[in-house]
Subunit: 210 residues, 2 copies
């Protein structure tokens, strides 16, 4: 595996391939060639073949890829063949939406602790978890082996939430708040921007009507 | 403008450039060259220059791009220089989170009607809007000039929600539910997959520890 050099865009595509393959597996498909997989994923077949060679997956000429084999490889490459304990900071609507998102629950990303700074929320139970004070993040992260931090608090509190999580030793953050956060070089942050998807739809509708 | 042929990935990058430029403008920056903009956006400078030539934007050699000029151009290219009326189907936690998302509210994507099929929700007021029965979608979409449909209902109801919206004449959908939906060829669907971002963080953490 040469994944030290896999570009970010490739990772995103691998995630799409995985999702598509899982749909196909549910439909009972056992083998697929790159062309129909490419069509389902909305990319070129040559792109798929190139992406898969990153981690040494080659289809059999005239036969194609084993769906379950490819799912296993992608799961392994993406690092989702194990459980990831997550801590979530900010138990408002967005935090609750994430906690109850079905597809999320079925995966091995497990939110094992939830935090908030609002005294009215602390002590409440949400999806079976007690909302804890942000000042307990450090202690809880260590105790529960939390590796990923999810920031769902309002933007003005995002940096503070990030600081708490990073001080607790967390190296991977998902930031759902519309705020930029500063992190040390060894911490990965994924920004989830709702608006980008809206832009994309607006762009397509605009250009259709010209 | 040659935007009939702008690839999807470019649109996503343009959205990132726009966001970054807006941050820079808030910080008081008036002119920027492609190198620092590229660093801020985590892409190569040559990629930015290439992307911007799609719509005829050229920096001045030795000076750079006008931040406000580039913001105006990107806003226009992306079609977000006008208001887009949106209808949202599914007023659970996720729907509520979207309705109250601050950055979303500041943009010209305006959710003007919200729908649900749950009799307990119909008639309630959420963020100043009355929850209406899904069977009113067709009538309301036409009456309020709704162009974009947002699907935030549970996966098993996503296709039905999409059908309602498409029958009402909507050509652009954002699907937040973890379900695939079938649409006619002239309808654009953006899927918002929470998990892909988690995959990306998991990948980076996995490879760091090998």
């Amino acid at each position: 595996m040469k994944n030290g050099h896999i570009p970010r865009a490739t990772i995103q595509r691998l995630a799409v391939y995985l999702q598509e393959l899982e749909y196909l597996q549910r439909d009972g498909l056992e083998v697929i060639s790159s062309e129909p997989l490419a069509r389902a994923c909305d990319v070129h077949a040559s792109q798929i073949r190139k992406d898969l060679t990153y981690f040494g997956e080659f289809g059999v000429r005239g036969v194609g890829y084993s769906v379950s084999g490819l799912i296993d490889s992608l799961t392994k490459v993406l690092g989702i063949d194990r459980q990831w304990n997550c801590g979530l900071v900010g138990v408002g609507n967005l935090g609750k939406a994430l906690l109850s998102h079905r597809e999320f629950l079925e995966r091995r990303f497990s939110v094992v602790a939830i935090f908030d700074s609002d005294p009215f929320r602390i002590g409440q139970t949400v999806m079976g978890l007690e909302v804890m004070d942000n000042n307990r993040i450090k202690e809880v992260v260590a105790g529960l082996g939390i590796r990923i931090g999810i920031i769902t608090c309002p933007p003005e509190r995002a940096q503070r939430a990030a600081n708490h999580l990073i001080e607790a030793g967390i190296k991977g953050l998902l930031n759902y708040s519309p705020a930029r956060i500063s992190v040390p070089g060894d911490v990965v942050v994924e920004y989830l921007n709702f608006l980008h998807h809206f832009y994309s739809v607006a762009f397509h509708l605009s250009n259709r009507n010209r």
